[in-house]
């Protein structure tokens, strides 16, 4: 009978190796391996004059894309991770946030270094 060995060892190129079980060091701040800003079609734009720093946007943002810069005393938006869900716009108590189309901005949406 012919006896076939099916395969013994796959060869994986260096750039495609992944850690065992896909476990990676926990991100200290941002998971740069998965930028989600390019999912966005609209973005929240803040009017700092109207903002009373109530932190509603920070509380309701599901992606932690708003934080308070305590020195400058203003809210800072993270373009790399905001998916444009606009919950912050709906939850803002003083109407200082507006939704604007991505195409109105130079450069448009955030692009990945390597497009899919």
């Amino acid at each position: 009978m012919s006896k076939k060995k099916y395969c013994e060892k796959f060869s994986v190129p260096e750039h495609l190796t992944v850690p065992l079980g896909a476990c990676i060091p926990a991100p200290v701040k941002e998971q740069r391996a998965m930028i989600t800003g390019n999912w966005r079609t609209e973005r929240p734009v803040i009017d700092h004059e109207k903002c009373n720093l109530c932190l509603n946007c920070f509380i309701f943002c599901p992606d932690s894309s708003w934080h308070l810069d305590e020195e400058e005393e203003k809210m800072v938006w993270n373009a790399d991770f905001c998916k444009g869900c606009l919950l912050c716009v709906a939850e803002c108590d003083v109407d200082c946030l507006d939704a604007e189309n991505e195409l109105n901005f130079k450069g448009g949406v955030v692009r990945l270094d390597k497009p899919y």
Binding site: K4, K5, Y6, K9, F10, L16, T17, L20, A22, I24
Partner: protein
């Protein structure tokens, strides 16, 4: 003198888990596997076993808890039957992809409809592509031994995969048999404490199951495929070691019964192999050259061993205890694997399959005799008339 007990499969599985010193047990009731958790909860309540006993809110939660426990560095044990097995389906791939070797004890139960308490392998066979090690036991003794053996295989650094440790519901899980109880010192020698290369540790924070780029997806799948390529050698090593320490005589993949000069064999897994042994004896008394080959692992499927062993015979009948509706052979699952394994063999045997024992029906001696008639004819002509026979419904069986 080793201690002997009279145990049903459920109790045997529980004692096996206790001897393996499981640290986290997670339960949810469903017949017939519930007996395992009843026995284990007693052992924990009586202070005979030091383990966390967590009651999940369903089977999905059960496997998720076992996943978390294994990630935290504990030897985790859970289990289910029938629709409970399929309800937890989402959690199987994360556990194998995350390379977390928890164990799921199974006592098979037919899937709905209708509500059927009988045994049938379709519940776990439906999960055979989820990256778990998988195999069936024939007796309560084999259930206890497999429980310990599977942990050793799954926790090997070359493997690191979760395991389905299966027994037929009722036929094995509820019918007692004689079980030789291993000494705790033997089990401790065979099965070292569980150590995972990246168990959760607050001083070295890591992410389990993070989002990845699509081009990393194939690489992760390949990693699991590689683990399964490496597993057969580990199984052979582990079984040899087990036989040496416990004085048993297990074959790693295929258990052959009276096959020396057999014309045809029943290819079978699980509890019905016991009936097959009696059928083979009776057929031999009548001069029919029948034999039996019992499959001990479905995953990893022992392709080379099956090709080498089954090519010795003129005809092979896969006794199917699970369904693959609309599959290539229109019947069960084993025949797909067997025919694939035999494709490159010179002069392959005639291979057919028999749907029997579905929904908890007994595969009776009479059914084996009618299968033998079909197989004897196939051995004579070298051809099979049909790929699948529904025993009791089809012509000729």
């Amino acid at each position: 003198m080793a201690k002997e007990m009279f145990l049903a499969g459920c109790s045997a599985a529980a004692y096996g888990a206790a001897l393996a010193r499981v640290e986290v047990i997670t339960s949810f009731p469903i017949r017939p596997y519930t007996g395992i958790m009843m026995e284990l909860s007693k052992l924990v309540a009586n202070g005979e076993l030091d383990a966390e006993f967590v009651h999940g809110e369903g089977e999905h939660a059960q496997v998720a808890i076992a996943y978390g426990a294994a990630a935290a560095g504990a030897r985790a044990y859970t289990g289910s039957s029938g629709v409970g097995v399929t309800y937890a389906m989402e959690c199987y791939s994360p556990a194998s992809g995350g390379r977390l070797p928890c164990q799921m004890a199974i006592a098979d139960r037919a899937l709905d409809p209708p509500g059927d308490f009988g045994s049938e392998h379709t519940d776990v066979m439906s999960c055979r592509d989820q990256g778990w090690i998988m195999g069936w036991a024939e007796t309560p003794q084999e259930v206890l031994d497999n429980t310990i053996i599977y942990y050793r295989i799954g926790e090997d650094p070359r493997v690191l995969l979760p395991q389905f440790c299966c027994q037929d519901g009722y036929f094995v899980s509820h019918i007692p048999g004689k079980v030789v109880m291993p000494e705790q010192s033997q089990v401790d020698e065979f099965l070292p404490p569980y150590k995972h290369p990246h168990a959760l540790d607050p001083t070295k924070p890591i992410s389990h199951g993070p989002q990845i780029y699509p081009d990393q997806g194939p690489a992760i799948n390949l990693q699991r495929a590689q683990a399964f390529l490496d597993t057969p050698a580990v199984i052979e090593e582990v079984i040899e070691d087990f036989n040496k320490i416990f004085g048993r005589d297990y074959k790693p993949f295929l258990d052959e019964y009276r096959t020396d000069d057999a014309d045809f064999v029943f290819f079978i897994q699980g509890g019905h192999a016991r009936t097959a042994r009696f059928a083979v004896n009776h057929l031999r008394e009548k001069g029919v050259k029948a034999g039996m080959v019992k499959l001990r692992f479905v995953r990893p499927f022992p392709t080379e061993a099956v090709a080498e062993t089954l090519s010795k015979f003129k005809a092979v009948g896969c006794v199917e205890n699970s369904t693959s509706y609309g599959g290539a052979m229109k019947g069960g699952n084993l025949i797909h694997e067997v025919r694939s394994a035999l494709y490159d063999v010179d002069n392959p045997p005639a291979v057919t399959s028999f749907m029997s024992g579905l929904g908890g029906e007994v595969v009776s001696l009479e059914e084996f005799y009618s299968m033998a008639k079909v197989l004897a004819e196939a051995a004579k002509t070298g051809k099979v008339e049909q790929y699948v026979y529904w025993v009791g419904f089809d012509k000729g069986v």
